[in-house]
Symmetry: C2
Amino acid sequence: MSAHGARAAAALHPDIAPLSFLLGRWAGEGEGFYPTIEPFAYGEEITISHVGKPYLAYAQRTWSLEDGRPLHAETGYWRCPGAGRVELVVAHPNGIVEVAEGSLTGAVLALSSTAVARTSTAKVVDGVVRRVQVTGDRLAYELDMAAVGVALAGHLRATLHRVSAPSA
Amino acid sequence: MSAHGARAAAALHPDIAPLSFLLGRWAGEGEGFYPTIEPFAYGEEITISHVGKPYLAYAQRTWSLEDGRPLHAETGYWRCPGAGRVELVVAHPNGIVEVAEGSLTGAVLALSSTAVARTSTAKVVDGVVRRVQVTGDRLAYELDMAAVGVALAGHLRATLHRVSAPSA
């Protein structure tokens, strides 16, 4: 392997400077619930990084607080296409992709899905609403979902803390 | 942080055993071309891993062979919903999400997008066709794309080699 592509620390692209409060590795716990399931508690790790381009790379995984087994994961990118606007594209391992857009007000993000698509074997998800609020090194989010015939309803709520500083 | 969620080595989920030839970290070089752009050469790294669940986690990044600057990236999941069938969900940092389905024949994957969605500021991509062939520790792929008003045309071609073994 050559030295090409080595991950040097890059300057943050100015387009995503308004989202810099998201950078870092976050860990915490959350609660899951939905009309069709038993409530559950989960641990979560979120990593948000950049490479100097106009997006933040996003990856998340959760695990059961009962036995540590992996639960959900998701991965994608955050973009900031203009003042006060935010975009998110996400792939989910259950065969779902999500496009969401919304507002950025200070360190509060409020997004609604504008498109959800799926593989032919995935469950039907009709919409996702995400609210994220960062206060210093504390990140709290709520996620509502319309899926499997259920109208939009609360599904996830978690609080994480930044456990390592931003890095590229 | 508790010990919950520690990444122990998990057994491969039987559903994705037919895709186990993809596991590992891959590095190599490729060529990009399209009717609307100047051809370019790129370095690439692909990482494909699992956590014991019925999907492979996929992440990729490319860089310019001229100066090492980051070019594309993408991230998502591979699934194997039945004998000879494969599904892929991918998020792209330019605001695109892709759902693709196709066939798995030995170690040859042939997929066509069944859905492409985008944020309101992303360029228009109408379709993606991917062919991947693994021969031992060599992975070759070709990607065709229909985008920005151009009918399906060749866009990427690369060859990578496995540089580290599968890991969870």
